[in-house]
């Protein structure tokens, strides 16, 4: 289990990770999602003890990473950045790691065969392709048979066959009861891989829920309706609780949200209205993700993070009535989105 509590990482004036709190549970694949520069890699590096948090904590099985005895037996990690010396062979790279953990040499051969690098075990890694490098990283992560795996963008550089292989590997590991945290900036990849999602944007937690609920909550299930009796239909839809209709570009077209195609069809039949078209518009996970991070962007511009910028306009009460004023005259937040991006890109 991984527990992240109120984790903060600042680089100068920019905040890359902003009071993150979440828990990664065993037995399922947890997708760690966010656009580029959202702070995913930084969060993983903080969990792994590579970077020092500015505040808060990240615990693995209840302890900070640095306090784990033989840490690779607890946690296997694949980092996004290259973490091998190109002049060393794949075998020797893994042998080094194995020796630090007291793992027998035969296990090195085992994981090399597992990831399909057996034939090139004695080759220097500088000649490896991106995909081979990823496989070596995965071999390193699995080396000491850890119960927790942290994988940063594992499908990067893999061919379609490799992507399927990684997916099956992660599912097998999760079925085995292991804890898996896998980051990605691709929603669709997570849709077919993850059971649970943790979404961050600009270093802040945006969502922490099962994939199904994420889709249900963040996608607008819209239905395209075409009818010659626009006014009557608009009126009928307007009477229904929670339904909304928006006029489309062409006359007689509407987008109705808050209702299924079946409900709209029944309503039309009931009122005796003619429908020419009734098409459900399924929002993909990708759209839900963009929707969420778009909101994160708007939220960021209003500035009131727990971390820093004073959210309050002088003379305004602290309760909800301040909101309209705050949005019409947003106080400039010190952590501009561009600079957060810059820090994350440099990592």
């Amino acid at each position: 289990m991984i527990e992240v509590r109120d984790l903060v990482k600042r680089y100068g004036n920019t905040t890359a990770v902003d009071h993150l709190t979440f828990t990664v549970e065993p037995g399922r694949i947890t997708g760690f999602l966010g656009p580029n520069g959202a702070g995913k890699s930084t969060t993983m590096r903080l969990i792994l003890g590579l970077d020092r948090p500015s505040a808060g904590s990240a615990l693995i099985d209840g302890r900070p990473y640095a306090e784990l005895r033989d840490p690779l037996r607890h946690v296997g990690a694949l980092l996004e950045a290259r973490a091998v010396h190109g002049g060393r062979t794949a075998f020797n790279h893994l042998l080094y790691l194995a020796q630090t953990q007291g793992v027998p040499k035969r296990r090195v051969h085992e994981v090399l065969d597992l990831v399909g690098l057996g034939p090139v075990a004695r080759k220097r890694t500088k000649g490896f392709s991106l995909g081979m490098g990823q496989r070596l990283g995965i071999a390193a992560a699995l080396l000491a048979d850890p119960r927790i795996l942290i994988l940063d963008e594992p499908v990067n550089g893999l061919d379609p066959e490799g992507i399927v292989w990684i997916r099956q590997l992660m599912k097998a590991l999760a079925l085995d009861g292991r804890t898996i945290l896998v980051s990605s900036h691709l929603m669709n990849e997570m849709a077919v891989t993850a059971d649970h999602l943790i979404v961050i944007g600009r270093g802040r937690l945006q969502a922490d829920m099962p994939v199904d609920r994420f889709i249900a909550q963040f996608s607008n299930n819209a239905v395209l309706v075409r009818t010659p009796q626009s006014e009557q239909l608009l009126a009928a839809v307007g009477e229904q609780q929670g339904w909304e209709a928006a006029r489309g570009a062409q006359d007689g077209r509407f987008i109705v949200t808050g209702a299924t195609a079946a409900q709209i069809g029944e309503l039309a039949a009931h009122r005796g209205l003619v429908l020419h078209e009734l098409t459900p518009q399924h929002a993909s996970l990708e759209e839900a993700f963009m929707e969420l991070t778009r909101e994160a962007g708007e939220f960021a511009h209003q500035g009131p993070g727990r971390a820093g910028a004073p959210a309050q306009i002088p003379g305004q009460p602290a309760d909800g009535t301040a909101a309209p004023a705050a949005s019409s005259a947003p106080p400039a937040p010190p952590a501009a989105p561009e600079s957060v991006q810059e820090v994350s890109d440099g990592r």
Binding site: R45, L48, G49, L50, D51, R52, R63, Y65, A66, E67, L68, R69, D70, P71, L72, R73, H74, A77, L79, A81, R82, A83, V84, H85, G86, G87, R88, T89, N92, H93, L95, Y96, L97, Q99, T100, Q101, G102, V103, P104, R107, E110, D113, L114, A140, L142, L143, A144, D145, W165, Q168, L169, A172, L173, D176
Partner: protein
């Protein structure tokens, strides 16, 4: 699928639970694996051995060949310190190989990204730096002593028609000092690499120190110049291999070596502190 086959078939042994730290012996073995599994180690050490032994032969050979044309002061210098004549050129050249390798042992971890794997496997950073230091300094010490004695015997053999070189008590320090100096230089360079974390920068730094600064500093006039010259770390260390320290050197050979050791220890502590403080 293939993926699920050998996941659970891996009893990897050991006592993976609990806190505390891994055996230091494991870290030593692991750092040794790292050191012996890259080519730069072999090339640098081969360069050290070949250059050192070659000069231990060449200088006595040329000296003997040109003996009749040499002026009396040169002849007096040789007779005053024959071991120094045999070994000092080889030491001056050979130390560069050790310095470059020492810098690479640490700095290349950063330039390749290997440091991330290292710190994941060994998150107690001071223990990791200690293991690295012990392994590398020990290796250079052993090789340094072997080539110092080998070079001495090669030089003595080459000199045998001209003079007899004895390994009496005072001169043993000169020979043993060869290995001691190289071992301390190995540590010093390793620490410099850990501080600078950039291979070309750290190599430039150590080479500038060894070849330029250590000599230029002697041009500073007066008492200040003597202090600067004496307390410059590599000059201070080099004294361990001298029968008679230079006129502008204020300490005894062993004191000089102590100064070099103190510099190295201070920088080591600084490097350890920064290693713990800085993000990897």
């Amino acid at each position: 699928m293939a993926a699920s086959v050998s996941l659970s078939t891996a009893p990897v042994g050991g006592d993976g639970t609990g806190t505390g730290h891994a055996h230091f012996g494991r870290l030593l073995l692991a750092e040794w694996t790292k050191l012996r599994s890259v080519r730069s180690t072999y090339w640098s050490l081969i360069a050290l051995v070949v250059a050192f032994l070659f000069f231990c032969w060449l200088i006595p050979y040329l000296t003997t060949a040109n003996w009749s044309q040499a002026d009396p002061s040169q002849q007096a210098n040789l007779l005053a310190d024959p071991i120094g004549t045999i070994m000092s050129s080889g030491q001056f050249i050979g130390q560069l190989a050790v310095a470059v390798l020492g810098v690479m042992v640490t700095a290349s971890e950063y330039s390749t990204g290997m440091i991330r794997s290292t710190l994941l496997a060994s998150p107690h950073r001071v223990r990791m730096l200690s293991a690295k230091s012990v392994v590398f300094a020990s290796l250079v010490f052993v090789i340094g002593e072997v080539i110092s004695f080998a070079g001495f015997f090669i030089g003595r053999q080459t000199f045998k028609n001209l003079l007899t070189v004895n390994l009496n008590s005072g001169d043993v320090r000169e020979v043993v000092g060869g290995g001691l100096y190289l071992a301390m230089l190995a540590l010093f360079s390793l620490v410099l690499g850990a501080l600078i974390r950039h291979v070309p920068g750290a190599i430039t730094g150590i080479v500038a120190l060894l070849l330029v600064l250590s000599n230029v500093i002697s041009l500073v006039p007066g008492k200040a110049g003597k202090y600067l010259y004496t307390y410059e770390p590599t000059n201070a260390g080099f004294a361990i291999m001298a029968k008679h320290v230079p006129d502008n050197f204020l300490l005894s050979p062993w004191e000089g070596y102590g100064v070099f050791a103190a510099w190295t220890a201070a920088l080591w502590v600084l490097a350890a502190y920064l290693l713990v403080r800085r993000d990897a």
